[in-house]
């Protein structure tokens, strides 16, 4: 079928907390040529169930196929598609930044504006912890760039559906 516009999509999966489940999901994506942008896995309050938040992209047909194939896996209990459900999304980044004397005040101001915090301080560097949606983190990184980012570590997105208020 003809391909259309590529869009990003977040799926939240509840899966059996068993060895090999992640491999099945990763194998499904690699075997069928689907993309994984990011993937977060952790146990839920039920130790038998894990939650996987998966960010992917594709045209409408591909996204539909991805959802169907995820549902088809025997170890996948539930797939939530955040295209149809309102949701809250966060990711976190740890940013190690050069902190020369002349930049320190500027960095601290930025940290304040973005409601992030400094979690480690050295003679020449800070490590900043920031959480937010993807756009916020991207904006933050953009502003810090001129001061000299040494390293970053980012989680992928995690998301939960909103409920009726």
């Amino acid at each position: 079928m003809k391909s259309e516009e590529i869009t990003k999509r977040i799926y939240s999966l509840q899966v059996d907390n068993k060895p090999g489940v992640l491999s099945r999901i990763a194998g499904l994506f690699s075997g069928r040529g689907f993309n994984i942008e990011s993937l977060c896995v952790a146990e839920t309050t039920d130790p038998l169930v894990s939650r996987i938040t998966l960010v992917t992209n594709g045209d409408r047909n591909i996204l539909e196929q991805i959802k169907k194939h995820l549902n088809k896996l025997v170890d996948v209990i539930k797939v939530t598609d955040f295209n149809v459900t309102p949701f809250v999304q966060r990711e976190m980044a740890l940013i190690k930044i050069r902190a020369k004397a002349e930049y320190r005040a500027e960095i601290l101001r930025m940290v304040d504006i973005f409601r992030s915090r400094i979690v480690d301080v050295g003679a020449e560097y800070y490590i900043i912890e920031v959480t937010g949606d993807e756009g916020k983190i991207a904006a933050f990184l953009e502003l810090l760039k001129p001061m000299g980012i040494k390293e970053i570590a980012r989680t992928g997105a995690i998301a939960l559906a909103r409920e009726k208020k």
Binding site: M1, K2, V15, D16, P19, G20, S23, R24, G27, G31, N61, E64, Q65, K68, H69, N71, K72, L73, V74, D75, V76, I77, K78
Partner: protein, 568 residues
Amino acid sequence: MIKGVFIIKLKGTKILMKVLKEEGVDTIFGFPGGAVLDIYDELVKTDIKHILVRHEQGAAHAADGYARASGKVGVCLVTSGPGATNTVTGIASAYMDSIPLVVFTGQVPTSLIGNDAFQEVDIVGITRPCTKHNYLVSDIKDLARIIKEAFYLARSGRPGPVLVDLPKDLIQSSAEYKPIKDVQLKSYNPTYEPSAKQLPKVIKLIKKSERPMIFAGGGVILSGASRELKLFANKIQAPVAASLMGLGAFPASDPLWLGMLGMHGTYRANMSSAECDLMIGIGVRFDDRVTGRTDAFASKAKIVHIDIDPTSISKNIRVSTPIVGDCKTTLKRLNKLLGSEDLKGLNKARKPWLDQIIEWRSTKPLAYEQEKAIKPQFVVETLYEVTKGEAIITTEVGQNQMWAAQYYHFDKPNSFLTSGGLGCMGYGLPAAIGAQVACPDRTVVDIAGDGSIQMNIQEMATAVQFNIPVKIAILNNGYLGMVRQWQELFYDKCYACTEMDHAPDFVKLAEAYGAVGLRATKPEEVKPLIKKALAIKKPVIMDFHVEREEGVYPMVPAGAAITDMLLV
């Protein structure tokens, strides 16, 4: 202690046998080895029949043939390492064709897993993409439940192969055992019942349609819906085409039969698909060998797609009315709805369309000319005539497979066994063995080529050892014929590496195995030879020396529209 409750502790091998009996397993196709010695030691103490194959690929294909012919789950048992990897082709073929198998593989003891131990392989990792599901059993307490689940998963929903990997120490240990009645998986719930909202839409489309056609696939056979399909087609007066996997789902002797659709489909089936205004796909997946260029496929039609697997729907072809459900259940519901409709006008309204199809049939029938050398089509046609169309036919892959599909006209389901999706040479002989074990009273014929028969020829020994009287018809042209045909048509007749001029003498080879070998080199020898072979109660190889460069026609070049047929 609670009175009256006795829980017995049993060894893993005993638990395995108990669950196999509960599941009604009567036959296992397998090959022993170090990691499964304990299982074999227990197996021979039961009344389960074990067919010792000569190569584990043969075990998987034989179990597949058994499953297709009987409608039951096919079971294999092999050892760890190479035993397990040798089954992979057979598992992949069953996966592509949705055939229910349970494959038990031995594994090295738990303490050695991951140590590169002797005959260790991560078979669960290897088969993850080609099984419906698979298990490495790591706790003896889970053994009974996992085996139960494996059978349930294999046969339910869209069927498929399930692999269970059994470490040697685990199967030697013991656990409490009580029979499990029901299998319930919170994450697996196939949809059998179609959405009641969708069905009236189909009825509406049918009533509006002037040129409807039905396209039936393997799903109809798997769900046992042939009777419902026949009723449905007759009610709505729609002609029926089938995919390769769907042959037998609808009787080829019915006037509404169009033949096979696709790359080597009949002229009228392919033309109908292009001209119809409504296509009802039932248990099909619109494979590329059927659709050709997708944008030209059924371009004038609204498409209704009935399938139990939601991932098959709108995968290759956009569908206007999707219905997720079991073919049999859905057809029953549709037939019931049609019962309360006034369909008297349909016969009349469909007449121009059905007349058109008759015209296509009479102008472009499947045809060949029997000249001096034996034509392979003539062999298949004669087989059809002599067996009165009642044999189970298995095939290898290539020209032999297509001629079998075109010239043996199937009236009944579960009679045409072929590796459709994977297209796996070497399938036919072991599958014939499996089918003959499942149906001892039927004639089973493997229609083979001289190339592909050699891929699993070792199973002749299995057939002879267990007195399984399969018949093998080799259409011997000294070429890898289908590849040669592509080279002839699309590669300037450069027959690169497709000539096989050093085949064994198949008659002598049959005799060496303890079977019977017969040969025909002239057309007039074909019929008497087939009659003679079918009367022998032993495995027989029939070696037909056929026209060397005969082609399969019609043929749609890969990637072309389905109506762009080369006709001879």
